[in-house]
């Protein structure tokens, strides 16, 4: 029922990406990581970690890069990775934590969830570990900031990603198409594609219903613009303002026109394998999604007789005044130490290893395309085996985050209530059952509730 969901891929990617960070070495000096590990006394004994793979192959890969390598380094610690089911893991973990149990290492699919757990006191404060390992210097500042809950560093981001426009390079070349650079060129291109019987955007949420929020995030950033989103997130603007209503209206219009998968019903019915298949075969020419997809594409492009190839560009702005070349920032997953863990030293040792072994991280990225840890790196740190497109995308993201050309996604920067509201209701909007204005009003109500409960994640700034 769910295969390559953002969350599952992220869990896999996140954990694999966690593998390595050479801290001091990668920092200001920019020299290659030595893989040296600077940890505490290390601890020993058993610890557990829950992980929900997107597919059985994903499990083995993840285990190889995140469990086996760790165990080799730390023979005294026995880490038990328990495989979970992606749809039920959140419920299970929540109930387990509430009952005073749960795994020693807690992962969540994003900051929005992590905050609620943090406020409830489930997490261990990792501030001292951060200082000892000088994470402030080695990690991307915006990502590290997201890990602070109530002033304490409790949920470390273990992967990060952005939202871009992927396209089928082969099909584009065949028809002499150029990548769109603004709304007008996008619509012209989409209309041309439809005339030729090609679906503009592959899309489908039958495997993972919340997928529509990816598009909401991209349209908020693309139409209303990151600055406006920042204003709304900080309370200066309202979600009912015309820029946001315009974003949703545009999204809806595109659905009605059939730009996404050919129609609303098709969108609701298409499962992930079909979605990827039509993108890879060229029946659909473009795909709006996140960095995690780069891990999936090799299964479809150039495999089993397929001869197409993919490429990516940043999402074009959809309204005048919105800057181009911006990258919405998303934290793919967080990891924390369970406050009630019976083996905190060992759990902490794992996290420290994770963030110190950069070599492992890049090896995993080269082998599987998994997402990297949010650490600063330069082009020379990336081994040759890593796919150049992957390298280019992450370098672009890093450059953008330094320059401030960033945007916001709903599952990282919004509060839990607003995020659930969007997920639950956007389908009704594109289906015609809910109006754009009431939808935005609903976001505002949930946002206010989140704000009151202190559930809004730390807000990084944008605007260049």
């Amino acid at each position: 029922m769910t295969e390559y969901t953002r969350r599952t891929v992220l869990r896999g990617a996140g954990a694999a990406g966690l593998s390595a960070l050479t801290i001091a070495a990668l920092a200001a000096c920019g020299t290659g990581g030595s893989g040296a590990v600077s940890t505490s006394s290390g601890g020993s004994g058993p610890i557990t970690l829950w992980y929900a793979p997107n597919n059985p192959a994903g499990w083995n890969q993840w285990k190889q890069w995140n469990v086996d390598t760790f165990e080799k380094r730390y023979p005294k610690i026995q880490i038990t990775a328990v495989r979970q089911n992606v749809n039920t893991m959140t419920a299970k973990q929540q109930v387990a934590l509430a009952a005073g149990g749960g795994p020693d290492l807690i992962t969540t699919p994003g900051s929005s969830n992590a905050i609620a757990y943090g406020l409830a006191g489930y997490f261990q404060d990792l501030g001292t570990i951060a200082k000892k390992n000088k994470w402030k210097e080695s990690m991307l500042p915006w990502a590290l900031d997201m890990g602070y809950i109530n002033g304490k560093l409790e949920a470390l981001p273990v992967s990060y990603e952005s939202m871009v426009l992927y396209y089928n390079k082969t099909v584009f070349k065949e028809h002499g198409w150029k990548v769109p650079t603004d709304r007008a060129s996008l619509e012209k291109l989409a209309d041309e594609m439809q005339a030729k019987g090609i679906i503009p955007f592959a899309a489908g949420n039958a495997s993972y219903q919340p997928a529509t929020e990816w598009l909401v995030s991209m349209f908020f950033n693309g139409f209303a613009g990151p600055s406006k989103v920042y204003d709304a997130l900080s309370g200066k603007a309202k979600w009912t303002d015309k820029e946001f209503q315009g974003s949703i209206q545009l999204l809806k219009d595109y659905f009605v026109k059939g730009y996404f998968q050919g129609g609303v019903k098709e969108y609701f019915t298409t499962q992930d394998p079909q979605k990827y298949a039509i993108f890879a075969s060229g029946k659909a020419a473009m795909y709006l999604s996140g960095s995690w997809e780069m891990q999936v594409f090799p299964t479809y492009f150039g495999a089993n007789g397929n001869t197409n190839d993919w490429a990516w560009v940043p999402m074009p702005p959809l309204a005048p005044g919105v800057p181009s070349d911006t990258y919405p920032l998303s934290v793919g997953g967080t990891m924390s130490v369970n406050h009630h863990s019976k083996n905190i030293p060992a759990a902490t040792a794992y996290i420290e290893w994770l963030f110190s072994d950069t070599k492992n991280m890049w090896a995993a990225a080269a082998a599987t395309g998994s997402e990297p840890l949010p650490v600063k790196f330069s082009a020379s740190d990336v081994p040759a085996a890593v796919d150049p497109r992957y390298k280019a995308q992450y370098l672009a993201i890093n450059d953008a985050s330094v320059a401030g050309r960033v945007g916001y996604v709903t599952w990282t920067s919004f509060g839990a209530k607003a995020d659930s509201y969007i997920i639950a209701n956007i389908d009704k909007v594109i289906n015609g059952g809910l109006g754009v204005a009431p939808f935005c009003a609903g976001i505002q109500t949930s946002f206010d509730s989140d704000k009151k409960a202190g559930l809004i994640p730390p807000l990084f700034t944008t605007g260049s």
Binding site: E3, T88, V95, A98, A99, G100, P273
Partner: protein, 294 residues
């Protein structure tokens, strides 16, 4: 409907069988509809069976029809990748334990409601009725808390206790109707002979209520075997997953490979179907004999 003894009913049933209108010649209309219904029920199963032996390639070309080549590798792969052997074993333990537990709890409860001098009989009966209508979410979270405190989370016995509790009300009410039909003279005779209540129950009445217990065993066993919700929440370790949850994880990971998923489905169904084929006569006569007085 008058209450008949077990043997009298058997004679009646046999007699009715002989009086039925009979074969295709006499009742073409009935056969016609029965065949339509049978196709409705059976075709999807046949598709499942067919697709489970098709390779990925053949599935793409021939998604619904009879397989041209029998490819049994799907079963092997599904068995290994989905850890279905362990799942079946876990389910076996769960089902056996649940059936025995329900037999004891519901059996005793039904016996006392049906045949003993229980105070507030109506009240207890109604209580069981009400419990059947409760949605699981009503007690799920506090139950999880409780189970965590006593260390029963992620254990098969812990899940078993939940299944027993959830199935007992329905089983009690069903068994009650079976037990009510057994004549009182037998109890009295036993009591006069000096037997204790327990001896009366187990040695005199119980043998007569066997069809009822079998019926309940089948229904409860089926429910425990197919149960998904509690298993998913309460069991975390992969080695303890019962078969339904093992299948769920497996099917989510292999959405595209219909052949494998179908093979896993067939593996899961086979034990139940075989068991049912063996027991179906008893099961149906069980339902016929007693449980229908509502």
């Amino acid at each position: 409907m008058t209450t008949l003894t077990h043997t009298k009913r058997q004679r009646q049933t046999r007699k009715k069988l002989d009086e039925r209108p009979g074969g295709i010649g006499h009742t073409p209309f009935s056969y016609f509809w029965l065949i339509i219904l049978a196709l409705f029920a059976g075709l999807p199963i046949f598709v499942l069976l067919f697709n489970s032996v098709k390779s990925g390639l053949e599935l793409g070309l021939n998604p619904l029809g009879f397989p041209k080549v029998l490819d049994w590798s799907n079963y092997v792969t599904a068995w290994n990748q989905g850890n279905l052997g362990q799942g079946l074993l876990n389910s076996l333990i769960l089902v056996t334990g649940t059936i025995i537990g329900v037999w004891i709890c519901a059996g005793m409860a039904a016996y006392t409601i049906a045949r003993l001098d229980l105070p507030f009989k109506r009240g207890f009966s109604n209580y069981f009725f009400i419990v059947i209508s409760l949605p699981v979410q009503l007690f799920l979270v506090p139950l999880f808390f409780l189970w965590t405190k006593v260390g029963l989370v992620d254990t098969l016995p812990g899940l078993m206790i939940i299944y027993i509790a959830v199935n007992t009300p329905f089983a009690t009410l069903l068994l009650r109707t079976f037990l009510v039909g057994i004549p009182r003279e037998l109890d009295e005779a036993a009591r006069i002979d000096g037997a204790s209540e327990w001896q009366t129950a187990t040695q005199v009445i119980l043998p007569l209520a066997t069809p009822g217990f079998l019926t309940v065993g089948l229904i409860v066993g089926l429910s425990a075997y197919n149960e998904l919700f509690f298993a998913v929440i309460f069991i975390s370790s992969p080695s303890k997953l019962p078969i339904a949850t093992a299948f769920l994880s497996f099917s989510q990971g292999f959405t595209q490979q219909y052949g494998l998923v179908n093979a896993a489905g067939v593996i899961m169904i086979i034990p139940v179907v075989v068991l049912f084929l063996l027991m179906q006569r008893r099961f149906i006569s069980g339902l016929a004999t007693g449980g229908l007085k509502g």
